[in-house]
Subunit: 263 residues, 2 copies
């Protein structure tokens, strides 16, 4: 079993990634992003990104109903269907699913965040949360009948509402249930860079023990990503390869362990 996480950046070479999937002789699950497309659509539709600051000073994106619609358009709509189309053109019988479909990715909605507004404290709650379980029966039903699941947000919460979630957490959850031999993460960089602005600062190997050290050194979104990687290994042995998703033959390149290898 191989899990492929495809980044949603604008320079990701989707055509090349999907054409190169033939290099994998194993069952496949694809999890994809669409953040560049989402942001482009939000701009065109003049949907502003809402950010809230909690009473304790912590800042986060607020996913309201419109944000979920935007996600359905960009992730479950264009990006998911165009990936499925590319898969079909390359002889892979893909089935694109959001987490809602067959309740394939089930999560728990975040409880509210305490915010200070006009001198008063109130609790606001958005449509976001953490993935908790997958419908393994549906995943296996598809895999055992020759279909390749192509998964994306939104996921479904405990009240059957659509919620936003992090792909890193979804990948970790899939691994916890399906025990992937390899997890390829295709991003807009040659791998994990020590210095984000310097493509020559690629770290070729990271041991599980080093992940915790790195987690303490970095901030913000990267801290969350490293944390998710660390959690991943708690669910069983695997090889994670973070590799370039912008080039030709990105899967072959990743399988040669070009990029950052974590095991």
């Amino acid at each position: 079993m191989v899990i492929i996480k495809i980044g949603g950046g604008k320079d990701i070479n989707l055509k090349s990634i999907i054409a190169d999937l033939k290099s994998i002789n194993d069952k496949l699950i694809i999890v994809h992003g669409a953040n560049a497309l989402r942001d482009e659509l939000a701009d065109k539709l003049k949907i502003e990104r809402k950010v809230i600051t909690s009473q304790s000073g912590y800042t986060s994106v607020f996913s309201d109903e419109q944000t979920i619609d935007l996600m359905m358009m960009s992730y479950s709509g264009i990006k998911n269907k165009r990936i499925v189309e590319l898969c079909q053109q390359n002889g892979i019988n893909a089935v694109g699913l959001s987490g809602l479909d067959g309740k394939v990715i089930q999560g728990k909605r975040n409880s509210g965040i305490r915010v200070r507004e006009a001198g008063k404290t109130k609790i606001v709650r958005d449509f976001s949360g953490k993935p908790q379980d997958i419908n393994i029966n549906l995943i296996n039903l598809l895999l055992n009948n020759g279909y390749t699941p192509v998964l994306c947000v939104p996921i479904i919460d405990e009240n059957n509402m659509a919620i936003n979630s992090e792909n890193d957490d979804i990948v970790a959850l899939l691994h916890s249930r399906l025990k992937a031999d390899k997890i390829l993460q295709l991003i807009e960089a040659p791998g994990y860079l020590k210095d984000k602005s310097d493509p020559n600062s690629l770290i070729k190997k990271i041991s599980r023990d080093e992940l915790e050290k790195i987690e303490n050194e970095v901030d913000g979104r990267m801290k969350r990503k490293i944390y998710a990687l660390r959690k991943l290994f708690e669910f069983g042995e695997t090889t994670v390869i973070i590799s370039d998703g912008r080039i030709e033959n990105p899967i072959q390149n990743a399988l040669k362990e070009n990029g950052t290898v974590i095991k």
Copy 2:
């Protein structure tokens, strides 16, 4: 087996339709539209509806790549996922699929249309076509494992490209393979009206023989719809009920044969 076709008009009461599906004690397939949402999004995104006129004077909508993206956003994106969400909230384990997913609706792309441009004749070809076959194995795999397929455009053509197609033709194709006992069509009217502008002109019963007569009396889009209905019956006996999708308990209402019944 019951096929439910849900219209894509803005007054369709989706919440009520989905909550009322419990009135059906049979296997279900849902096929839905999203035309009002598509048009609203096209307006916001300033995507113009392209219309071409053939050399012989026949006018048709031209579906370019952008039209397909728009369809993926509105049909496979927001509308399909919101219907799946509503189904889950009502205890129906729905799986939303475009025709691309698992090649569930396979079509043949229309050949080009001869147009006259700047004194020259050229052939233009858009991304539209007719559905020809369904992946009955995937439909049955889902139905036999307790999942309800929720289907929409785009469909997939002979070269594995996404193409636009008519829902009426998709419903007829599904019936030809699955032999539906009932086909409910929920629209923004009490049923088939003799005079479109007069809700009191409801025709309560149409026999198969009368369909051909009506087809000769009407024009444009309605002619195509009546033609599709007539074709439907060539694929085997069934009861078609065209009924109001705007009211409370629209499924119970349709099952009481309120609307236009064709058998």
